[in-house]
Symmetry: C2
Subunit: 355 residues, 2 copies
């Protein structure tokens, strides 16, 4: 038995793997593989229609937003966001709460002025900064809602009239959001949405074209919005597998239900980290991520022995990112609470052996 | 029995579908799905190493070229090519041989001057222009080697000192090439390489960075080359399924062998088009594509009856593109000659019924 705590590409539900494998052999009884279906076939247009509707329903997206299915990951959005909504000479404000924030900042600087409202870099990003000012003339305010590497999450988005742009790659579909609070949300699919190769963008229509720049077609939100994400051949299989995953989420009760489970899973694991004398959490308690649970050992000499002990018991992907060290258990939507309990058992057994 | 003549995403070998489906359930006996494997896992790095080596071996790529596995399709390359290799104020020369050429031209104009050396647009792209001049000061010369929509193919690339850039989306891996003749080759994967969602770029190292522009990281060939296409999360599944397909091609005898089969398949089908009194080929005979065989009916009133007749006999994806009309049979590497014979039988049977 393997328990996949990988940070992404990450676990998806077993039934999604099963249905996706079936579609690779025979998609919807067409006698053809999903890998050889034309993206212009009515059967695939139905897939696109259904996934757009599911994203809209699951996230309760109001009218006035476009939902785009793109390629290139969040990393390409780091550039597409300023290209599309930051006009020449304007300033965008950014919160620097981790490696991905700082990469987004670096890319935005190519297209305009960047104002960093606050940074937790000096504390190795162990907390999410609070009490900063967002200048009212900012074209937008950018945040990373969940810092996959450092295990912090932003639970209270600031109140501001500036459009909020959020990279939600690692917490989209994990918690209830009020979409109307955001101007733009983007996410690489490969955590809670589906396999790698797909990028979700949810953008308020009045922001599209705001930069006034003449853009390459493939980097222009307007082109993709006007073409219902079928301007060119999309990532057909990743879209289909994501549809299967979002159907699973809906059948489970949707985002509100999964949020409850995510709270229960993360609380159980953090309780063990706080209780177990061998482990501690490096992050500010209030900012602890429900998706990526980072923990280190009181005695770093036990790092390797614990990793080996856990791997032998089926734990996959728990090594921490090199910039934090220690361990990271990513506990995305599809990871069952039994996996969290299995990890807690391993932590307890290891503590007993090393008392 | 279905025969998939779709223009792309298109048929892949049945054994690739079978192996890909198995990997969605259990990748290489890891106990994990290929959809939940980290792109930083040693098992996936081995996949990347193997596919890069296979591309190199199958196409006989000499030293001095980088092989990149990107996202966004050929459509994004329409912009990335000039961004990366056309400096401010320079001119690039383009051959306009079809819809995709003209889209590439449109995107390039955002980044510099475009010189169209010749165009067959006035003849609805039924031939590939010959006898044009490529100005020696062109930064590069761009061609579409196979025109998927119009069914023409460029068999003799011009001799020039200007670096040749070729969109080979629909004929890469179908015929032997002398890679040293090219500065850059790009291809959306979804014909002869693998599923949609992956883009192959083969670029001569001395062209990388030639434009001198400061580029977004994700649009910079240098970043991808320096990071062995793992700068960010790539299209994991599409890469793996493409690896399976290229292994199949290698086991079959490689590109030289498949080229022989492609010649045999296309000759058989064109022979029937020329022989059968009901059909004719709209393209210049010398330029007829071996990948996309376009044909129309002498009497267009028979279009619908023939389409219905063929579909009832399992022929999929043979409707012609709206800009040509009639029919198009795409006969990519994975389409067995038995499928071509089945289509010929259908054409003959229909002709007998309508004699």
């Amino acid at each position: 038995m393997k328990y996949n705590f990988g940070a992404g590409p990450s676990i998806l539900p077993q039934e999604v793997f099963k249905q996706a494998a079936e579609a690779v052999l025979n998609f919807n009884n067409t006698g053809l593989s999903i890998l050889e279906i034309s993206h212009r076939a009515p059967e695939f247009e139905a897939v696109v229609d259904e996934i757009l509707q599911l994203v809209k329903d699951l996230l309760n997206i109001p009218e006035g937003y476009s939902i785009l299915l793109l390629q290139g990951g969040a990393s390409l959005q780091f550039s597409m966001v300023p290209m599309n909504i930051l006009a020449e000479g304007q300033t965008a404000s950014y919160l620097d709460s981790g490696v991905w924030s700082s990469k987004a900042i670096k890319e935005a600087k190519l297209f305009g002025n960047v104002n960093i409202v606050a940074s937790s870099k000096e504390a190795n990003y162990t907390y999410v900064p609070r009490d900063y000012e967002i200048p009212a003339d900012s074209a937008y305010f950018h945040v990373t809602s969940n810092n996959t590497i450092f295990g912090t999450e932003l639970f209270d988005f600031p109140k501001t009239d500036v459009p909020i742009v959020s990279d939600m790659s690692s917490d989209i579909f994990s918690r209830v959001l009020n979409i109307a609070d955001f101007g733009l949300i983007y996410a690489g699919a490969q955590k809670n949405m589906g396999p790698a190769g797909l990028t979700l963008v949810i953008v308020k229509d009045d922001l599209i074209g705001k930069s006034g720049r003449k853009l390459p077609s493939m980097l222009d939100y307007k082109i993709h919005a006007d073409n219902k994400s079928l301007y060119n051949t999309p990532a057909v299989f990743s879209i289909y597998a994501s549809l299967l995953n979002l159907r699973w989420l809906k059948a489970k009760g949707g985002v509100a239900q999964i949020e409850k489970e995510n709270i229960a899973k993360s609380e159980a694991l953090y309780a063990e980290i706080d209780r177990n004398p061998l482990f501690k959490g490096p992050c500010n308690v209030e900012d602890r991520s429900r998706m990526n649970v980072c923990f280190v050992m009181e005695n770093p000499e036990l790092d390797k022995p614990f990793l080996k002990f856990a791997q032998e018991r089926g734990m996959v992907g728990i090594k921490g990112h090199r910039s934090v060290g220690g361990f990271r258990a990513s506990i995305y939507n599809a990871l069952p609470i039994t996996a969290v309990h299995a990890l807690i058992d391993v932590m307890q057994e290891f503590a007993d052996n090393n008392a």
